[in-house]
Symmetry: C2
């Protein structure tokens, strides 16, 4: 962090210039045995940290990202105009207060933003993995992060937090490592992917795989399947917004620039989706999109058991947040988590925020989320001191 | 109609063997001036009729199809195993009772099932129109049908009915031709396409146009863009069902046949979408998909006016039906139509059916629709006799 740099540009309550670090499992076990039984290694995780770890290492918060996120959650990378993806929530005095806490954000395995994923070099072939990359699950992502947390010398996390896929990792942490987490904040998420959620992901994968540039995943060094990936992302963006937020933002307004070809976008909402699709493909790998959406679809934390049964060993207390207009991860899925917590005797608080932003609300309803989370963390912190 | 054929196969309350007829505007005006100002002609409409037109031609019902429908609404085509798309609603003793009524179903212009559309031969070039086909609107579809109704010698339709896009045509009929319609039954529809509805259609069009086989629409006689069209249809199918109906039908069940490649579908819901996508491309033209979805997106029956203002000249009485779990054409859009009717003094009855089927409900909630429609039509018929 270097606060002197770009001082004119960076707002005061910001963590300043940040950079991504990399952790590779170099010592044995340098292979991770995956959920599928396959082995993957060595594994590199890209991560960032904000704030300072205190002496007894009791102030660490692990922040988990969603499908298209990365390790860069807060502050500015040198030369960047835009801050990290959850900069509104992480910084001095913010929900995750860098004056008090040490915040870690790690890119997931399978990712394409510095962590080992399908675009990484397979040490066995010296070529990118492509479709040779093994299927990974949310559990695998969490197991890999556990090595990072060990590496940072943290025995117990104050909290694990995340929205959407980040919420699934949060739930997996509290179930897989009950002794290593004081609390969890799953936001706009589910304990298992529904039929409709699988359906959207499958159609998005089909959009990618239908692009002839995909070439069974062997496109590295050649033209990437950017048209297919853009279509996938456009579908995604519809599901991230609500009918109402789209109506409020775009209505039926026409684009300002007159189109030439009759099937060019002529409504504002079309222009927005194109913009989102086109900018996404510049920073994201198509194969990662396939692997991560598949990890989401396989997510069913209870499996053959009842959800409350797998929660019986949970020691963390939970703050569960959902949004009324979120139809991708509807609030009823959060309420199912709450119910299972109550049946299992897990201390859980639930809040359903009355937002119109749809699933995107977890990135936008900053004021309400900040209030809820600050009070929750104070409570968790005071509980630890007793 | 030939009831003797396949008597063993055809259920008793069925209209039997039916065939599609064709009507071409051969006399002047053999060109239709479109909404856009462009001219199109000659125009052929594919249509079917069921039941008999009575002497005073007062028992005719015009049935309008949805995006992927066609003129074959009831009965069986020779050799076919499956009946027309609304066979459950049209036949002896059914909602649209062929013992009493004469039912007409016409394919829309822009279509690919026998009516003039982008796959038809452009008389000016002797080649398929492709992207030379002009942009068409719901109003154009209705204006073309008016020539068919004239041709059949019908001065006034007893009712116009349709679900989804069929409902838009229904609304357009009662607004454009107030003296030619006694009543209308718009089902699961809207008076204008919303931002979210436009967004889904645009992504579906992008899926088609991203397929390199699309070739700017000039694929006739070559490989059609079937992968892109299949993806478009898969997206569509998600929007036709509800979260709940998908959960009830598929849940998280795995497909029975073990997949070979790891990104082949392994959940039942994925297999269903693939099946739907693959079967659709065998019977539907990709360019028609572009033109018809664009017609939907342009649909805004009031334009710059208030909806109640355009309803002021409406003479038909309306039965408006919506479904609680329909999130593609949500019930609030039907309630907006009802409100505008009330403000304009139009006689309107509204029913919101408590179905879990989502948008597909208009094809599936047969019993409730039948009861509502039978009573409504009796009422309309008795009103006419007075």
């Amino acid at each position: 962090m270097d606060k002197k740099q770009s001082d004119n540009l960076i707002p005061k309550n910001n963590v300043g210039i940040t950079e991504t670090k990399y952790f590779t499992f170099a010592e044995p076990p340098n292979e991770l045995v995956l959920d599928s039984g396959e082995k993957l290694g060595p594994i590199t995780l890209a991560y960032e940290t904000y704030g300072k770890l205190n002496e007894d290492k009791s102030n660490a918060i692990l922040c988990e990202h969603a499908l298209s996120g990365d390790a860069h959650a807060a502050g500015y990378h040198k030369g960047d105009k835009n801050p990290g993806w959850w900069d509104t929530m992480i910084g001095p005095g913010k929900a995750f207060d860098t004056d008090k806490n040490y915040i870690i954000c790690s890119n997931v395995i399978g990712g394409c933003r510095g962590s080992t994923g399908p675009s990484s070099i397979n040490p066995k072939t010296n070529k990118p993995y492509g479709m040779e990359f093994p299927i990974i699950t949310i559990k695998d992502m969490v197991n890999a992060q556990r090595y990072l947390i060990d590496h940072l010398g943290i025995k117990k996390l104050l909290t694990v937090v995340g929205g959407s896929m980040g919420g699934m990792q949060t739930l997996q942490w509290i179930v897989s490592y009950p002794d290593r987490v004081c609390s969890g904040i799953p936001i706009a998420t589910t304990a298992k992917h529904s039929s409709q959620q699988i359906a959207f992901n499958e159609v998005e994968r089909q959009a990618v795989m239908s692009d002839p540039n995909w070439q069974d995943g062997n496109y590295y060094g050649e033209s990437a399947p950017i048209r297919g990936l853009a279509v996938a992302r456009m579908i995604g963006h519809i599901t991230y917004m609500s009918d109402k937020s789209m109506a409020e933002k775009f209505g039926r307004r026409s684009k300002e620039n007159k189109t030439i070809f009759k099937f060019d976008p002529d409504f504002e909402v079309e222009g927005y989706l194109h913009y989102r699709g086109d900018s996404f493909v510049k920073r994201f790998d198509a194969n990662t999109y396939l692997y991560i959406t598949k990890a989401l679809d396989y997510f069913d934390i209870a499996g053959d058991k009842q959800l409350y049964e797998v929660f019986k060993n949970v020691k963390a207390e939970l703050l569960i947040i959902a949004f009324k207009s979120d139809w991708l991860y509807p609030a009823y899925q959060s309420r199912e988590i709450v119910k299972a917590c109550k049946l299992a005797g897990v201390d859980a608080t639930y809040c359903e925020i009355d937002s119109t932003y749809g699933h995107d609300a977890f990135l936008l309803e900053i004021e309400q989320e900040t209030n809820l989370i600050k009070h929750f963390l104070e409570h968790v912190y005071s509980g630890r001191k007793k």
